[in-house]
C-alpha cells in the first residue's frame, strides 16, 4: 500500500517540483528550442505544453476512465476562457469574484447539460455534446450582447488582472500557474479514480450492464465524472485566458475537442501520465514543427517531401493514425506490456450497439 502511495503521489511530486525549476535554467538547448529556456518566449510555449497536459487529463476522466466519448469538451474550456474574461473586461468585475462566478456557472451548466446528454449513450452522446458545443461556438461568434467581440476576440483588461500575471517578464509566473494547475488536476484525478465512485466509473467503462445488475445507477456515476471533468476544464480555461492574455474563438471550435482527443490517444487513454505526456508532446510538436518546417534542412528537400513536413497538423494527424493502428495503448501502453490498455479497454464502452439502435434483443 505504502509503495503505491509513493508511486502515485511521491514520484509525481518530485517530477512537478523538478519542473518548477525550469524557468531558472538559463541554458540554450539547440534543436529543441530557439531561445534559452528562461526566455519568455520559451516559457510561454512550455506553459502551453503543461496546460494542455492538464486539459488532456481532464478530458481523459470522461474518455479514458469512464468510457464517455464527448465531442463537446471544448465548451467547458471555452466557458472558462470567455466567461472569466467577459466578467473582468466587459462587466468590470473583481478578478476573484469573476473566477468564482465562472466556476459556479461551469459547475451548474455541466450538471444540467450532462444530465440531459447522458440520457443517451455511445455515439449519440458524442453527437449531443458536439451539438451543445456548436451552440456555444455560434453564441461566441454571433455575440448578441457584444461581449465576446466575435472573430476579433476579447483581449483581457490587464488592469484588473493580478499584477503577477501581467507583462512579458512575468511569463515565468504564468508557467508556474500552469504547472500548479497540472499538479492539482493530476492529484485530483489520482484521488478521484481510486475513490470508490472512481472505481465505479472504470467498471462502467468495462461493462455498464454489470454495474446496473449490481444495483448501482450508472447515470449518476457518469454524471459525476462528466461534472468533475467539465469543471476542471473550465478552471483550465481560466488559466488559458491568463496565459494567452485574452479569449479567441479557437477554443470554441469542435476541432479543439478533437485536438484533446488526439492528445489523449497519443499518450494513452485511461492513464494519468499518458494523457499528460500526450498533451505536452502534442503541444510542443505543434509549436516546434512549424519551425522545423521552415528550417533550411526542410527547405532544401524536394517539393513532395517539403509540403507535408511544413504542416504540423498533417504530421500529428498521421502520427495519431499510426498510433491507433499499431499502438492502441498510446505511449503509456508501451509500459503496459501486453495487458489491454488505452483504446483496447474502451472497445466495449463505445460500441454503436449501445447507442442508437434498439437494445440487443436477439443477441
Amino acid at each position: 500500500m505504502s509503495r503505491r502511495v509513493v508511486a502515485d503521489y511521491g514520484w509525481p511530486l518530485v517530477v512537478f517540483a523538478a519542473l518548477a525549476f525550469v524557468p531558472e535554467l538559463n541554458v540554450k538547448i539547440p534543436k529543441l528550442f530557439d531561445q534559452p529556456i528562461s526566455s519568455p518566449g520559451t516559457l510561454q510555449i512550455l506553459g502551453a505544453c503543461v496546460l494542455f497536459g492538464a486539459l488532456a487529463l481532464t478530458y481523459d476522466i470522461q474518455f479514458g476512465y469512464t468510457g464517455l466519448l464527448s465531442f463537446g469538451h471544448a465548451l467547458y474550456i471555452a466557458i472558462g476562457v470567455y466567461l472569466s474574461n467577459i466578467a473582468i473586461t466587459d462587466w468590470h468585475w473583481n478578478f476573484w469574484v469573476a473566477i468564482l462566478f465562472t466556476m459556479g456557472v461551469a459547475f451548474v451548466l455541466a450538471n444540467v447539460l450532462g444530465a440531459v446528454s447522458l440520457r443517451v449513450a455511445g455515439i449519440a452522446f458524442a453527437m449531443v455534446t458536439l451539438a451543445f458545443a456548436q451552440a456555444g461556438a455560434v453564441l461566441a461568434l454571433k455575440d448578441p450582447h457584444h461581449w465576446t467581440h466575435g472573430e476579433e476576440g476579447l483581449g483581457a483588461d490587464y488592469t484588473k488582472l493580478p499584477h503577477a500575471f501581467v507583462g512579458i517578464f512575468n511569463t515565468k509566473n504564468l508557467y508556474w500557474l500552469a504547472l500548479g494547475f497540472l499538479a492539482v488536476v493530476f492529484f485530483v484525478v489520482r484521488w478521484a479514480v481510486e475513490s470508490s465512485p472512481g472505481r465505479v466509473w472504470q467498471a462502467i467503462r468495462e461493462n455498464e450492464q454489470r454495474v446496473e445488475v449490481l444495483g448501482m445507477r450508472p447515470h449518476l456515476f457518469k454524471l459525476q465524472a462528466f461534472v468533475l471533468s467539465s469543471t476542471l476544464a473550465a478552471a483550465g480555461g481560466i488559466v488559458y485566458m491568463l496565459l494567452y492574455n485574452g479569449s479567441t474563438l479557437g477554443v470554441t471550435a469542435p476541432n479543439f475537442t478533437l485536438t484533446l482527443l488526439l492528445m489523449v490517444v497519443i499518450g494513452g487513454a485511461g492513464s494519468r501520465w499518458g494523457a499528460v505526456l500526450g498533451g505536452i508532446l502534442y503541444t510542443y510538436l505543434n509549436n516546434r514543427l512549424v519551425a522545423v518546417g521552415s528550417s533550411s534542412t526542410v527547405e532544401g528537400l524536394p517539393h513532395v517531401l517539403r509540403t507535408p513536413l511544413s504542416q504540423p497538423l498533417f504530421l500529428l494527424g498521421v502520427i495519431f493514425i499510426l498510433i491507433v493502428f499499431f499502438l492502441p495503448g498510446g505511449i503509456a501502453g508501451l509500459a503496459a506490456r501486453g495487458r489491454p490498455s488505452g483504446l483496447r479497454r474502451l472497445e466495449e464502452a463505445i460500441r454503436p450497439e449501445h447507442a442508437l439502435t434498439a437494445p440487443p434483443e436477439e443477441a
Binding site: 455515439i123 453527437m127 454571433k142 498533417f314 500529428l316
Partner: protein, 296 residues
Amino acid sequence: MSTWLLLTITGLGLGAMYFLIASGLSLIYGLMGVLNFAHGAFITVGGYAAWWTEVHLFDGVHSAWLKFVLAALMGLVVGGVFAALVELVLIRPLYNRHIEQVLVTVGLSIAFVALVQGIWGPDAKPLAVPGWLHATTTISGAHIPNDRWIEIAAAGVVLFLLQLFLRKTRYGLIIRAGVENRAMVTALGIDVRKAFTLVFAIGGVAAAVAGVLGGVYFNVVGPDQGTSLLIFAFIVVVIGGLGSIAGSAVAAMVVGLTQQYVNYYASSGVGDMIVVLLLGVVLLVSPRGLVGAFSS
C-alpha cells in the same frame, strides 16, 4: 411573400446540401457503425478536384457549361475513388473495432485539411461557373439565385438514384439488410465487406456533389469548407435516424428551412441554436431519431 419564397427556396437549397452529405454518413453508420469524420475530407476532395480540373485540364474549353460539367464529373469520380480508398486502406484493417475506426477518420479529417493547405495554400480557390448560375430568376417578386435550383435538383436526383439502387438491385438489398441486421446477413454467407466499400464510394460521390455545389454556392472552394458543413450534416443524420435515407431527407429539409427562417426572422445565429435544440429534443424523445419515432 417574396422574402418568404426566397427564404424557402434557399432553405431547401441548404437542406439539399445537408442531404447530400448526410445520406452517405447515414448509410455508412447504419451499415458499419462508423461515424465518419472524414466525410468533410470527401467534400473537400470533390470541390478541389473540380477546381483543379478546370484550371489544369480544361483551361482551353470555351463553353463555360461544358467546362463546369466536365469539372463537376471529375469531382464526383475523384470523390468516389478517394472514399473507396479510405475504406480499403484505413477502415477495413480495423474491422469491428468501432472506436478505432472513428478515431482514424478523425485523424484523417485533421491531417487532410492540413495537407490541402500545405499543397494549395490556406486561401480558398475561385471556382469558375457558368454565368447563369449566379443570375437570378424572378418568381412572384422573389429574386432567387439560380444555383439553388441546381442544388435542389441534384439532391432530388441523388435521392431518387439511391432509392432506386437500394430497392431494385442485389447490392441495394444487401445494404438494406445489413443496416437492419448485419450479423444475420453475414450468417447467410454474404460477404458484407464489398458493401462497405460500396457505401463509402457512394457516400464519397454524394459528398463530392456537395463539395462542387458548395463551390458554386460560395464561389470558391476552401480547405475547411467541408468541416463546417459536416457538423450540421451530423445533426441532420441524428435527427433523421441513423441508417435511414428517407429520414435524412426529411431532417435535412427541416434543418435547412428552420435555419433560414429563424436566422432571418429572429436574428442571425438563433436558427443554428434552434437546430441544436431540436436535436436535443428529438434525441431525448426518441433516441433513434425521426425514423424511430414513426416506426415504433
